[in-house]
Symmetry: C2
Subunit: 471 residues, 2 copies
C-alpha cells in the first residue's frame, strides 16, 4: 500500500518512535511530584517545551502542549476571545479554515453576543490581506488564519495579515497544522496552534503558543497543568516524541521540501495530460510542498477512492460522497471549485518518485473505469421541456456526479443560446453545476425551487439549476 | 527507587506497552478514512471500545475515549448539565471529589444560574446516601460521586446514592478513576468517567460512558469524532493500549486485590506502632486495596517526602507544603483530619512485601529526623499574654507544622482550663490546630481576626486560634 494521505496524518517519524519508547521508560511519572521520577519527568517536559518553542520561534513559557491540534485551536480561540471580551465579541476567520476553527467560530456565534465574519477566498483558495483589513472593527476580539490550506495546499499571506491585525490592535491566531513541520510561521502572529501527528509525531499532542502580552483567559474548568491552559495529566511520552520529531523533520525540511515540490509539480502537470476533464485546484506556486488536489468531472469521489485503494493507493477526497457528513468540502465550495471526483494527494516525507510515477500510471485507467460505471445510469428519467427552463432533466434521488453527467450528455442537444435545467436534490449540485459551467465555458443562469413544478411528482423537493448553452 | 505513588499514575502495564507498540504499526492511520489503513484503524478502535465497554459493564456505543480522565470528567459534567438544562441548574457533588470534578463545579457555579451543593463527609471521608437524598431538588440536573477517594482510599456508597438519584430522576456521574482497574462501578449509574494511566494504561486516554437515555449535550465546539463527544484526532495507539491493559488488570484483580489489601493492612497497623503522634486516616475496611494515608504531627510534609525520596521511596502527600497551590488538601479538610506531615502510600500492582517492610523500617527514622530539624525553630517569638486569649504565641510568617509544634510545646505550661492562642498566617493552621486538639483531647475554642492586636506588629494579618487546655 502506498500512503499518499500525509495531510490527514503523517506516519510516525522514526525519531518520534524512538523518543516515545525512551520516554515510556524515563518519563512516565507525574511531573508535578517531588520525588526523583517526578523530577525527571519534569525535566523531560521542560526540555520538550524548549525544543518546541525553538521550532515555533517563541519563548518556552509561551508554549503549552494540548491533547490535539483541534484542542489547541479550540482553546486558543476561546482563550483569546475571553481575554479580549472587553474589546468586543467579533471574530474574523477565513472561509477555508480547518473545521476545528470553523466549529469554534460556530460555537462563538451561538454564544451570547458572538459575531463572526468569514473572509472569502479567490479561486486558488487564498485570502487577501485587504479583506482582513476591511473586516476588522473596533469590537474585533480576534482574527484567525491558517498558514496553508489543508485541502488544496494554498499558502496564505500570514505575515501580511498579521501586519494588518497588528496595526488594528487585533491578535491573530494562526492554525499552522499543515506547515509547522516545514517552517516556522512568519510574521508578527499572536497565537499559533498545531498538531504533532501532522508532522510525524504521535497522536494525542497539540501545541498552542500564546505570545506574552496577548490577553488570554483559558476556558474553565482549568487546573494547574500546562500553565492552566490544558487541564489533565500531561501525556509526557507523546509530548517528548512530538518535540523530538518536530526537530527532526525541520532538520530534513530543506532537502525534502525541494524533492516533494518537484514530485507534486509532476503530478500537477501530468494529471491534466493523462486524464480528460480534470481541474487541478489550489495555487500552483504558493503552496505546500507535498500536497495537490484535483477534481475529475463525471466521477463519484467515493468510487474513485475505492478503486485507488484497490490499486494500492491511499488518498483522500473533499468530495461530498466520501465525508461522513455528506456535504461537499467547504473549502472547494468557498473557492468555487468543482467538488465532484475530488482527490487529494499528500505525500509523506520519503515518498518515492517510483510510487508517484506508478500513481500516474494507474490513475487514468481508474478514472476511466469509474466513469464507465457511472456513464450509463440504469433508468434515465424522461426529459421534458418547459417554456421558462428549456429542456428539463430530472435527477431527483441521484447522487453526484449523476446530475452533472446528465447535463453534459444533453448539452449538445440544446441550441446555442437555449436553456437546460437540471433538477437535483443533491446539495453538491449547487457547487458542481456552476463549476462545470465555468470549466466548459457555459453560462450558469441560476437556481430556483422546484417543489411545485406540475410535471414533476408532488414529493419532488429538489432545486432547479438552469444553464444557457454558450458554445 | 521504590514507587509507592500508583494513585498519581500507575507504571505502564506490560500489556499496555505491547499493545501500544503493535498499534503504532497497525493503528496509526485516520479511522475515518476509507482506504485499507483507515479501515484497519477503525476496526482497532471499535475493538478497543468493545473491550472497554465490557470492563465498564455497558454497551460499546455508550463509551467514548477522551484525551484524559480530567477531560472525561469535564465533558461528562458539562454535557449532562447542558442536556438537563430544562430540569434546572443545580449540581450536587461530594466535598471530597477529585479536583477535576470540583473545578467543573466551580465553572458551573460561575456560569449563568449555576448552583452547587457540596455534600459533607464523615471523619473517614465517606458520604451518606441520606445526605444526597436531602440535597436533591426539583431543579437538580446532575449529581456526582467518586467511586473511591483518591487521597484516603475510602470507598463511597455509590450503589446506594445511585438508587437515591434514580428515585429522584437525577442522573449520577461516577468518577471511577481510582477503582475502574479493580472492578466495574456498582449500582444504577448514569455516567462513568475514568483515566487509563491510573490502571496501567498510557497517559492521554480517558473514558466517558453515558448510558443510553441519559440526556446529554456535548459541550461545543465538537466534531464528528467519538460520537461528537471528544473532538480531535483519535489517539488510537494509546486507546488500544488503554483497553488492552484494562482487560489485563481486571484479569489479575482478584489475586492482586487480596495481596495488596494485606500489605496495606500491615502498613495501617504498623505505622501507629512505629511512629508516635500519627493519625491513619480513611475508612479501614471500606477502602481501595492499595492505598493508605497517614498524617504525622509536628512534621513538614515536604521535608518528609524529600527524606523518603532520599531513602529511595516515592510517595505523595496532601499536605499544604507540597502541592503547588500551597493550600491544604481539600479532602483532609473536609474530613477534619490533620493535614500536616501527610503521606499517601499507594502500592502499584506487583508491589513487593519486602519493599513494604523496608518502608516500615525506614519511616520511623525519617519522621524522627524531620521532627528534630523542625523541633527547635531558630528564633522563637516572645510569648505574651492577653486577658481574653491567655498565652499568645506569634507564629506569623511560619509555615506548617511550626504553629502546631509551638502549640504543643507550650500546652504543658497552660493551667488546666486556661487558654492558649496561636496567631498564624498559614492557611493550614485552620485545619491542623483543631485536628491537633481532637488528637490530643484538648478543647478548640475558635478563631478570630488578629489584625488589630496591639501587642502584635501592625503588619500582622494572621488569624488567632484559641485552645483551652482540657487535660
Amino acid at each position: 500500500m502506498v500512503y499518499f494521505d500525509a495531510a490527514s496524518t503523517a506516519p510516525l517519524h522514526p525519531v518520534a518512535r524512538q523518543a516515545l519508547l525512551a520516554a515510556l521508560d524515563e518519563g512516565w511519572a507525574d511531573p508535578s511530584r517531588l520525588y526523583r521520577e517526578g523530577r525527571r519527568a519534569r525535566m523531560l517536559l521542560d526540555a520538550a517545551r524548549e525544543t518546541a518553542a525553538e521550532a515555533v520561534g517563541c519563548r518556552a513559557d509561551e508554549v503549552v502542549f494540548t491533547s490535539s491540534g483541534t484542542r489547541a485551536v479550540h482553546t486558543g480561540i476561546a482563550g483569546a476571545l475571553a481575554g479580549r471580551r472587553r474589546a468586543g465579541r467579533h471574530l474574523v476567520v477565513s472561509a477555508v479554515e480547518h473545521s476545528s476553527v470553523l466549529h469554534a467560530a460556530e460555537a462563538h456565534e451561538a454564544a451570547d453576543g458572538g459575531d463572526v465574519t468569514r473572509i472569502a477566498v479567490d479561486r486558488s483558495g487564498r485570502v487577501a490581506a485587504d479583506d482582513y483589513r476591511s473586516a476588522l472593527r473596533g469590537d474585533t476580539a480576534l482574527a484567525c488564519l491558517q498558514s496553508a490550506n489543508h485541502e488544496v495546499g494554498t499558502v496564505q499571506p500570514v505575515a501580511e495579515v498579521a501586519e494588518v491585525c497588528r496595526a488594528a490592535g487585533v491578535p491573530l491566531l494562526v492554525d499552522a497544522a499543515q506547515s509547522l513541520g516545514w517552517e516556522p510561521v512568519g510574521g508578527d502572529w499572536s497565537l499559533v496552534a498545531a498538531s504533532a501527528h501532522k508532522w510525524g509525531g504521535p497522536a494525542g499532542v497539540g501545541l498552542l503558543a500564546v505570545r506574552k502580552g496577548v490577553r488570554f483567559a483559558a476556558p474553565a474548568p482549568a487546573d494547574e497543568r500546562e500553565h492552566g491552559r490544558a487541564p489533565g495529566f500531561e501525556n509526557l511520552p507523546a509530548i517528548v516524541a512530538a518535540a523530538a520529531s518536530l526537530r527532526a523533520v525541520r532538520e530534513e525540511a530543506v532537502a525534502e521540501r525541494a524533492r516533494l515540490t518537484a514530485l507534486v509539480d509532476r503530478i500537477r502537470a501530468r494529471v491534466p495530460e493523462l486524464v480528460p476533464d480534470v481541474e487541478v485546484v489550489g495555487d500552483p506556486v504558493r503552496r505546500l510542498p507535498h500536497l495537490v488536489t484535483f477534481s475529475c468531472l463525471y466521477v463519484d469521489g467515493e468510487a474513485l477512492l475505492t478503486e485507488l485503494d484497490r490499486a494500492g493507493f491511499a488518498v483522500s477526497s473533499g468530495s461530498s460522497c466520501t465525508s461522513s457528513t455528506l456535504t461537499p468540502s467547504h473549502v472547494l465550495r468557498a473557492m468555487g471549485a468543482l467538488s465532484e471526483g475530488n482527490v487529494r494527494v499528500s505525500l509523506p516525507r520519503g515518498a518515492s518518485e517510483a510510487d508517484v510515477d506508478r500513481f500516474l500510471d494507474v490513475l487514468p485507467g481508474v478514472v476511466r473505469r469509474v466513469r464507465e460505471q457511472l456513464g450509463a445510469p440504469a433508468a434515465a428519467e424522461p426529459e421534458v421541456t418547459d417554456e421558462e427552463s428549456g429542456l428539463v432533466i430530472d435527477t431527483l434521488g441521484k447522487r453526484c456526479p449523476i446530475p452533472v453527467i446528465e447535463l453534459a450528455k444533453v448539452i449538445a442537444d440544446v441550441p446555442v443560446g437555449g436553456l437546460v435545467t437540471v433538477v437535483s436534490d443533491d446539495e453538491a449540485a449547487r457547487l458542481d453545476i456552476p463549476a462545470w459551467c465555468e470549466m466548459r465555458d457555459q453560462e450558469y443562469v441560476g437556481e430556483r425551487d422546484a417543489v411545485h413544478w406540475e410535471h414533476l411528482p408532488p414529493e419532488a423537493a429538489g432545486v432547479a439549476y438552469t444553464v444557457r448553452r454558450r458554445t
